[in-house]
Structure formats: structure tokens, C-alpha cells
């Protein structure tokens, strides 16, 4: 049923809006991921199946609305809305800390919505707004120093960092930090500034590895797995980090079969450990194919339509970078790296808020790709 529904949604979008073939590729990959997600979730009762369909319907509705706004209107570029978005994101983080309940050690919810999803929807607009500001002045008056728009972007990202640290949401902090770093390196031309920034990032990484407890624990496990098993405090964590390596021979090329993974080691099986589930339940081949598809998806999201302006270019770039880093962090944490866990795989992981966020980023990209095509078609008709 989900296959039919999702395929129908894809075909409908192709017919109604007549998008170019390029938009279709990404939608097809996203639908494939949704189908893989349906296979991984093992929904057993009617209530869970109804919830799943509700999420899918919500995603389709949100996609249509956002696509329409981006493709046919200029509302998303209104300065007041962008400034409101910039102001609201730190407030969401503070609100989550003050009013939210702790879940797995982090304050992740704000009235039912995951803070991770809300912040990552708003951040591309904030970054695009800063980058599209006219770069006419520099701090200290020298071109070798930072321009005001880059300082604005970094300062704003730092404010969000503090909010993420307060909420204990380090996955969000990593995604924001890596996205801001790439945007900074793309825009900044001064080699001296880039070196200073890189050294500051390395110091920050060192401090995070030393003082953030679960990153520090995972690094200790990674550096000396045998000692970690003997340590009472690390043994439980070591089990989930190293399970794949310890059991890969038993799993083999074709997997162990559906439902074999112990829930005691992986309580968040259908959200944070998708790759492990695919390798164990289905086969290494399917996990590898899903990873290759995800690379193609990110590559597709990095494409730009002809003659985009600065704001649209950076909006598109940030959306693609956020999606790419989410995938990278998920795969890295599943394969036992010391990076923090707690980030789902796009469209496959169970989680309405995060999948909604990724649908918004997908709709933004499709809207920007189709925008110029439709504008050119309209102006051709008028002439």
C-alpha cells in the first residue's frame, strides 16, 4: 500500500507541475528511501500503520506547500521573514531547554516538535540571508580580515552552538558547525583567516572530545576497545559501538534475518541505527546500495539551476550540506566511529519531525530548480 501511495505521489508531481527530469531523480530517490524505511520499521499493529500513513500524508502536503512557495512566489526572500527566522531559532532552543523533557540525556522536544528539525529548516534561510548581504565593509577595514556578513554568520552559528550545548543536542551542533564551516570556506578568500579559523575549529574539537562525556567515552572505546570492555562504565556503550565489528562474521554477506538485532543493545533501532539494521537484517549489499543512493542524492541536491542569484545559491547549498552531513554522521556513527550517535538516516529513519525537515529541504531544492524554468516559460508565452 505504501509503495502504491508513494509512487502515485511521485507520478502526480510529475504530471501536475511538469518538472524537468532533474527534479524527478531526487523525488524518486526520496521515495525509494521511504520504502526502505517502511521495510525497516516492522510495524505490527494498526495504530502504528495509521501513524506511518499520517506521517507520509503530512510529508506530501508539506512538500506541495513549500514547493509552491519557493517556485511561484518571492515570499521566502522577504527580509522581515528572514530576520524573524534568525531571531526565533535560538528562542526555540531556549524554549526546549526550559519547557522540554529530557529524552536520552538531551532536551530535544519543543511542544512535540524535534528541535533538530526546526533549527535545520530555519538555518539555510538564515545563512542565505547573511551571505546575500552586500559585502562592502571589513572588520578593521582590511580585506584580509573578515567581512561583516561572514562575521554575522559565524556569530549567529556560535549563538546556536551555545543553545545546542545547553540542550545537550550535540548531533545538531555538529551538523550546524560543519555546514557553517563549508559556507565560510566557500565565501572567504583570505588564506590567513581560513588558517586561523581551522585552528580554532581544531581547538574546539579537542575540547569537545575532552570534556563532552559521550564523545569522550566513544573516543576511548575507539582507541582501545579491549580496555573499554573491561571498564564497568564503558562496557554498555562499547557493546553498541562495537557490535557490528564483533558480529560481522556471523552476519556474513546475506544478513542474519529480520528482527535478529538485540533490542537491549539497540533501543533506537529504527531511528539511529538504520545501517546496522540493514546489514544485519537484509544484507551488506542492500546497505551498500542505500549508501550509494544517498551519495547520488546529495550530489543531486548540490546541483544548481541556471542563473540563480546569491540568496538562492546559498539556500540551495546549505540545504544540500545539511542533508549530506546528516547522512555522513549517521553512517559514521553506525560503523563504529567516535562521532556521536542520535542522528537518523533521511526518509528511512522513523521520526515525523526529522523527515518533515528533510522534505522541506527537498522541496526547497526542487522549487529552486524549477523556478527559472517556469519563469522562462511564462516570459516566452508573454512574448
Amino acid at each position: 500500500m505504501s509503495v502504491v501511495l508513494l509512487s502515485a505521489a511521485g507520478i502526480l508531481s510529475q504530471i501536475i507541475w511538469k518538472p524537468s527530469g532533474r527534479t524527478g531523480t531526487g523525488i524518486l530517490i526520496a521515495l525509494t528511501f521511504c520504502n526502505v524505511g517502511a521495510s525497516v520499521a516492522y510495524r505490527m499493529d494498526n495504530k502504528e500503520i495509521r501513524e506511518y500513513f499520517k506521517d507520509i500524508m503530512m510529508m506530501i502536503a508539506v512538500y506541495i506547500v513549500i514547493f509552491f512557495i519557493i517556485c511561484y512566489t518571492n515570499i521566502y526572500r522577504v527580509r522581515l521573514l528572514n530576520v524573524l527566522c534568525i531571531v526565533c531559532l535560538p528562542l526555540f532552543l531556549i524554549g526546549a531547554r526550559l519547557s522540554g523533557n529530557m529524552t536520552h540525556g538531551a532536551y530535544v522536544n519543543f511542544h512535540g516538535f524535534l528541535v533538530f528539525g526546526i533549527v535545520l529548516i530555519g538555518y539555510p534561510f538564515a545563512a542565505a540571508y547573511f551571505m546575500s548581504m552586500q559585502e562592502a565593509k571589513y572588520i578593521g577595514g582590511s580585506v584580509k580580515n573578515l567581512s561583516f556578513n561572514l562575521v554575522g554568520l559565524l556569530s549567529y552559528t556560535f549563538i546556536l552552538f551555545v543553545g545546542c550545548a545547553v540542550c545537550n543536542e550535540f548531533g545538531l551542533l555538529l551538523v550546524l558547525g560543519t555546514t557553517a564551516t563549508v559556507v565560510f570556506f566557500v565565501r572567504c578568500k583570505s588564506r590567513q583567516t581560513k588558517v586561523i579559523y581551522s585552528m580554532a575549529c581544531l581547538c574546539g574539537t579537542f575540547l569537545a572530545c575532552r570534556f563532552v562525556s559521550h564523545i569522550h567515552d566513544r573516543m576511548l572505546i575507539w582507541l582501545d576497545p579491549v580496555k573499554a570492555y573491561g571498564d564497568k562504565t564503558l562496557a554498555a556503550k562499547a557493546e553498541s559501538v562495537l557490535y557490528l565489528y564483533r558480529n560481522i562474521r556471523r552476519t556474513g554477506w546475506w544478513g542474519n534475518g529480520i528482527g535478529e538485532l538485540p533490542k537491549g543493545i539497540y533501543p533506537t533501532l529504527n531511528t539511529d541505527h538504520i545501517i546496522v539494521t540493514l546489514i544485519n537484517d537484509y544484507s551488506i549489499f542492500i546497505a551498500a546500495l542505500v549508501m550509494i543512493l544517498s551519495i547520488l542524492y546529495v550530489k543531486w541536491m548540490l546541483l544548481e539551476a541556471p542563473r540563480m542569484n546569491v540568496y538562492d545559491r546559498y539556500l540551495n547549498l546549505c540545504g544540500a550540506l545539511i542533508t549530506g552531513f546528516i547522512i555522513l554522521l549517521h553512517i559514521a556513527s553506525n560503523l563504529g566511529s567516535f562521532i556521536t550517535a542520535g542522528i537518523g538516516f533521511p526518509f528511512i529513519s522513523d521520526g515525523g519531525s526529522v523527515n518533515l525537515m528533510l522534505t522541506v529541504l527537498l522541496a526547497i531544492h526542487c522549487g529552486l530548480m524549477e523556478r527559472k524554468v517556469i519563469q522562462d516559460a511564462v516570459s516566452e508565452k508573454e512574448t
Partner: protein, 151 residues
């Protein structure tokens, strides 16, 4: 047996999908230069150097080139790592060009450049505004900036 068949067919269909998507996308790749909206045209012409050096005699005069500029920052110079490479005879020259929709701002970072008959030496704090049809001479190359649509 059925489980094995289903598993194999899933793997096969996913493989075919990945290969198809990859092949289709490779054929549709757009050249990156076309993806930005261009506001300015930079026209360059080799005009010859005041001092005659051996290298000068090996270069052809009056060679012209045009490039379109989008709203961005560019490093212009005679180093290979610069965004826009000028094949000049001078030792080292580098400028930071801040291209905006209606204006261009130049800063000379290395060497010397002649901007509207004034010689400008390296000064990373000095930002010079360039207008439409302005001329700059970098050693033996003349650069002219024309607003797109005004050609």
C-alpha cells in the same frame, strides 16, 4: 527459498535503480559556470609592457579575452591558485575583487596596479570603487568592466 528469491530480487532491483540514476545524471550534468547569474563582463587585452624584457618579446600583443562575473568575491592575480588568472610579466600581483550587482570594489593586495591613471600600490585597507566601463592596467594587461546589458 522464497525468502532468498525476494532478497536477491530486492538487491537486483536496487542495483539497477542506482546504475540508472547514475547514468542519467552523468548525461545531464550542467557546466558549473552557467549556474550563477552574471552581472558584469570583464574584458582583458594584452597591451604590451613599458619595459622591454626578453619574456615580453615572446608574447603576442592585442590578445583579447572576455569573462562574465557573478555576485561574488574573486582573487585576481598571476598566481595559479587565484580565482582569475592573469598571465602578466610582473613578479607578483594580486587584487581582491568584490563584485556586486551595481558596483565592483577592488583592493590591491600585492604588486601595483594602474586604476584610472593612478598608480595604486598594495594596501589591504584601501577599497577602490570601480564603475561601468572603467579601465585598469595590470602590468601589460588592460582590464575593462562592462555592466551586462549595457554592451
Amino acid at each position: 527459498m522464497l525468502v532468498v528469491i525476494l532478497q536477491m530480487s530486492t538487491i537486483a532491483s536496487l542495483t539497477i535503480l542506482v546504475i540508472l540514476i547514475h547514468r542519467v545524471e552523468r548525461r545531464r550534468e550542467i557546466c558549473p559556470e552557467e549556474s550563477e547569474e552574471k552581472y558584469w563582463i570583464m574584458q582583458t587585452q594584452r597591451i604590451g609592457r613599458a619595459e622591454k624584457t626578453p619574456r615580453h618579446y615572446m608574447r603576442r600583443k592585442n590578445l583579447e579575452n572576455r569573462t562574465e562575473l557573478a555576485e561574488d568575491g574573486y582573487l585576481v592575480g598571476n598566481a595559479i591558485t587565484d580565482d582569475i588568472f592573469l598571465d602578466t610579466s610582473q613578479k607578483k600581483v594580486r587584487m581582491y575583487m568584490n563584485v556586486q550587482k551595481n558596483r565592483i570594489f577592488l583592493t590591491v593586495l600585492k604588486g601595483k596596479v594602474m586604476i584610472q591613471n593612478h598608480v595604486c600600490y598594495a594596501n589591504d585597507k584601501k577599497v577602490i570603487e570601480i564603475g561601468d566601463s572603467s579601465g585598469i592596467i595590470v602590468d601589460d594587461i588592460r582590464l575593462r568592466f562592462i555592466k551586462k546589458g549595457m554592451v
